[in-house]
């Protein structure tokens, strides 16, 4: 009989060294640390499918623009709370060019990564309307965002969309919104971890119910234009990135440079607040923060500004240049990120030929595309068991349960899967399958 690569003793010794009592429920950071340590201790390389780290070079246009900004004196000057004017204008154009959505430049605001955007937005949304104090996650979702609510003592509820695709989403969502305690709805599209994409019908349901029940949709577009099935990424040409902004005026879009420009190190993103939400006055904001309680100025000056005092000045110039050059057609960020789809496709072939299956495999009736992540299951293994077993074979991942999913399986990340690593993965999956047959 075939052996595992790492013995149970080796794995147990490392996990207990980190004070991890239950590996099946470990966080992303803990899984990454275990993989790192086992690799150090044994010298056997791990196939790292855990963290979603960009596996490509950072966009050169951004870096050069940052260098030019460093030659001016902006490094000494506090950034304005709402961002530099050229970035606001470039962000407005980017949203128009690739989403066909009109939003004022005033509502386009740089943030220290989308993580800061959601942190601030959770506070703002849970504070602005009496009785609406709960964020609703359409899961599976990004675990960090739930951790943020735990930090601030905020409330959230959630449901797994797996059983509620298409028309079924309407009743499920309305059942939750009817209660009256929901302030906002958050999801990522394309989805982290499952890479499902909400259909136009589903976005329309979300948008219309957000209007009806007066809640704000927080649309996380971290993987902007990365749905490989559509010919996206041509400025001012259809098809455009799908968005709830076509169906409601209650939205905040979050667009990060981390993945589309491989810029995760610089903590650079922007939000786009709908014009109608921006200019709306909330009495609870007025009472808490003074003034007339306008959503836009309160969110920017009274909330986001208190968290980081603006966004790194020279990095704002880098993001401006990358957005401008994308709109001008000089950066094809979509083609660059297409490398992830190529890697995912090869990985999926290797998984499927070794007895695995895609867990979230369809968007209603259409097969999902290839991209940064996908979800993988094996027989009836729970996500925790599969993740733990994978570690014994030198493959790190995270369980779908940590993303609020009720399905059995793990998240696989394609970002670091060069051809050589995929070969190694193939060998190990074959061993895994033989061991468990």
């Amino acid at each position: 009989m075939i052996d595992r690569i790492f013995s149970t003793e080796q794995v147990d010794s490392v996990t207990s060294g980190f004070g991890i009592t239950d590996l099946e429920n470990a966080t992303i950071g803990q899984c990454a640390a275990v993989a790192q340590r086992l690799q150090e201790v044994t010298g056997v390389p791990f196939v790292r499918m855990d963290q979603g780290v960009p596996g490509l070079e950072p966009c050169a246009v951004g870096r050069e623009a940052e260098k030019l900004a460093l030659d001016t004196n902006v490094a000494s000057v506090y950034p304005a709370p709402d961002g530099i004017a050229p970035l606001k204008s470039a962000a407005q154009k980017f949203v128009k060019a690739f989403m066909d959505i009109d939003v004022n430049a005033a509502g386009c605001v740089p943030v220290t990564g989308s993580v800061t955007a959601s942190f601030g937005a959770f506070l703002a949304c849970n504070q602005c309307q009496e009785g609406k104090d709960t964020v609703l996650f359409i899961d599976p979702g990004f675990p960090i965002q739930k951790s943020q609510l735990r930090v601030m003592g905020g409330k959230f509820s959630s449901f797994d969309i797996y059983e509620y695709r298409g028309e079924a989403l309407k009743n499920k969502l309305e059942e939750m919104l009817k209660v009256g305690n929901i302030s906002s709805i958050i999801y990522s599209n394309p989805n982290n971890p499952a890479w499902i994409c909400l259909t136009e019908q589903e976005l329309q349901i979300i948008g219309e119910l957000a209007t009806k029940y007066d809640v704000v949709v927080l649309e996380d577009l971290a993987y902007f234009d990365m749905d490989s099935r559509k010919d996206l990424g041509k400025p001012y040409q259809a098809p455009f990135q799908a968005t709830v902004a076509r169906y409601t005026d209650n939205y905040i879009l979050m667009l990060s440079a981390s993945k589309i420009f491989s810029y995760a190190g610089q903590r650079s993103a922007f939000i786009a607040i709908s014009d109608k939400l921006f200019t709306r006055n909330f009495p609870l904001f007025a009472a808490r923060y003074g003034g007339v309680g306008q959503f836009g100025s309160t969110f920017i000056n009274a909330i986001l500004y208190m968290i980081t005092s603006g966004t790194t000045h020279t990095t704002q110039y880098g993001l401006t240049a990358m957005l401008e050059e994308s709109v001008a057609g000089n950066i094809d960020f979509r083609a660059t990120a297409g490398e992830y789809a190529r890697r995912a496709k090869k990985m999926k072939e290797v998984f499927i030929s070794n007895g695995f299956h895609i867990v979230y495999s369809k968007d209603v009736d259409e097969e999902i595309g290839d991209g940064f992540f996908f979800s993988i299951g094996y027989k009836n293994f729970s996500g925790g068991r599969l993740m733990r077993e994978f570690i014994h074979f030198g493959v790190s991942s995270i369980s779908l349960t940590t993303a609020g999913s009720l399905q059995n399986g793990i998240r696989a990340c394609a970002s670091r899967m060069t051809d050589e690593v995929v070969e190694l993965l193939a060998e190990r999956l074959a061993m895994f399958n033989e061991f468990h047959s």
Copy 2:
């Protein structure tokens, strides 16, 4: 009789345009906006004493190091939650060289400006001990920090130190700590807005009571080594920056690059957590965030990381270089910042010769030094009235009441006071004094 420069009608029209109902209680941002708008509308330049913007060139060593980092691929890689190793080591050396304090590199962590440090520290301190849910401000203090607590729904209390200098601080502080609800004590030293510096006796009182009542001292060193009365700033040579860290093990120091390296635009700072606090386990942290509840790892990985996901990667390299070169004696940040003391000295002369007085004028028995800020009063004018009157003479400032002070007066900032601006200030103060005589 002499006229004001701006009429009441002009001022009222601009303030009401911003929706400001009570100019005397306006925030810093609102005062700055009113000054800016009046200047635009009338073409008459304002003497800007409001915001504490560095008035010098950003440190070249930092900018060059950032450019070199931009030529590597770190811009694509998520920064580690606890910062890059060279920065942690440089920060440890900086604290030793200029404060003579020993702290492990593990406890030296970059943050997106000290604003993010205090935001995170308020959350951490108010969550880690049962019943201790209130931050105590030794006022006058930095208004942004109270705004942060308003954003997160956190509690704070405060007292004006004016009447409690020296030995008198002990009874006052103990009276407040005895209640048992205080989690942490915060102050800035040198002080924003009054430029008072706590004496060694006062720091000893704070430190010993922090140990006795088990509260964390959050020491904001934004104006590090800028006390002009002492020959500070020589690496590994006394005298050193005064600090509570000599008198307690319950501390978090906040050291910002904004003022000492004129680096406010880059949102670059670090914290130094005492070794004893870092390694201490808090059951409430374990219950809320899992693991053993260690202060250091919980604060870094479970709280700060959820706010910004680390600190801009290339900027960390800039800060590393500035700290390293300071420790090596190749950057004399203290001499550079000495320009602010020179400007403040000239401003004070102009104020005093026109009938004004320094409000917080002494540290117990010693005259305060010159630096970034100072406090100014006129006759028995309240701070709000003086600030409003100044606006009519084209001089912007902020009232001491917005900093939690009970004294009559305003904060003056020396940062942008070049010689020409001081001449303009002198003319206007003469007009002011004549008008009000």
